[in-house]
């Protein structure tokens, strides 16, 4: 049990965040809370990508001293991809919030069920 936990604790954390983010997006009916759920889902996927690239007893991939041992460095490619993904996540959140502000000014409410009823 303890070794199972030690091996898979990062996967459980990322997996739990993805599930909670999906639950918020599917069930809640306030628009700003749905956007918060989108942000949590984003964080969960990034955590999963970095934990796939980890090597046991590894070090960070930076050659800080000339004679450093490079046998046990972790994989640098997932880190480069996740760096891009974090910045794109914040750009999508900003644009979604601007659309939510315009929706509030047009309909007067942010409740998704009431907005769906008012369709003409």
């Amino acid at each position: 049990m303890m070794s199972f936990l030690a091996d898979y604790i990062y996967y459980i954390g990322a997996f739990g965040l993805i599930l909670i983010g999906l639950y918020i997006i599917l069930v809640k009916h306030n628009l700003i809370k749905v956007i918060v759920g989108l942000g949590i889902l984003d964080t969960g996927v990034n955590l999963f990508l970095i934990s796939v690239g980890y090597i046991a007893k590894g070090t960070a991939p930076i050659f800080s001293r000339p004679g450093i041992d490079s046998e046990h460095m972790v994989d640098p490619v997932p880190q480069a991809l996740v760096l891009t993904a974090i910045v794109i996540g914040v750009a999508v959140l900003a644009l979604a919030l601007s659309l939510a502000i315009r929706l509030y000014q047009h309909y007067g409410t942010l409740n998704l069920r009431k907005i769906r009823e008012q369709r003409w």
Binding site: Y11, L22, A56, I62, A94, Q105
Partner: protein
């Protein structure tokens, strides 16, 4: 009814993900491309930070796409929020003297720290995106502390456009000098010094200025009305 369907969907997603996650072992090296970048990275690019050399040199085209996406999001936010009719201006109470002076004291220190991080992106952990975010946090501090100041819109747009333009021009110069877009054509120097790694520091300085002014203009567009 909707809650029952969504819980059923979540159970299906749970079973699917856990069945496939059980086959991925944790802590075992999985790819060969990473080993090639670690073994040959310092010799081929000259940068000591392997993640920087992957982001700017080996996969530089993805970074160009990401800079474009950030640019489109900032322009889209400005366009969506600009047609709002101005309500009567809300009365903003000015901050106390201690808060005002403290924010004015901290602001240049935060700017210097952010500049340090993106200039040394190829030697230590850091880079353009992290430094740009720290610079935008400095501008957020000015918005929260000294409440009547606003950033200069013309200068911010100019810095943002120049940053993106320098990135594309350096890529096209690589096409002129060598044969393909974003070729590393400047001399590589000795590793672990400031003036090394070819075009990587120049691109990161341009990205740092661009991301910093872009995030500050996003905050300025959102605060605008009140």
């Amino acid at each position: 009814m909707r809650r029952a369907i969504s819980i059923f969907l979540l159970i299906i997603v749970t079973v699917g993900i856990s069945l496939s996650l059980a086959k991925i072992p944790f802590g075992v090296p999985k790819t060969k491309v990473g080993r090639h970048y670690i073994n040959e990275g310092v010799k081929e690019t000259g940068a000591a930070n392997i993640v920087t050399s992957v982001v700017v040199n080996y996969r530089g085209f993805d970074t160009l796409g990401e800079v474009t996406v950030l640019f489109i999001a900032a322009i889209g936010l400005g366009a969506v929020l600009s047609t709002v009719s101005q309500k009567t201006a809300r009365k903003v109470e000015s901050a106390s003297l201690v808060l005002y002076t403290g924010c004015r004291l901290l602001f240049p220190l935060i700017l210097i720290f952010g500049t340090y991080i993106f200039i040394h992106g190829h030697l230590t952990p850091g880079g353009g995106f992290q430094g740009g975010a720290i610079i935008a946090s400095g501008f957020l501090l000015i918005y929260l502390g000294c409440r009547e100041r606003r950033i200069n819109r013309v200068v911010s747009n100019l810095v943002e456009s120049l940053g993106g333009l320098i990135f594309v021009v350096i890529g096209l110069l690589g096409l002129v000098f060598g044969g393909y877009f974003l070729l590393n054509f400047l001399p590589k120097g000795t590793a672990n010094t400031l003036f090394s790694a070819g075009i990587i520091p120049i691109i990161y300085v341009a990205i740092g200025f661009k991301v910093g002014s872009e995030l500050a203009s996003i905050i300025d567009n959102l605060i605008e009305e009140s």
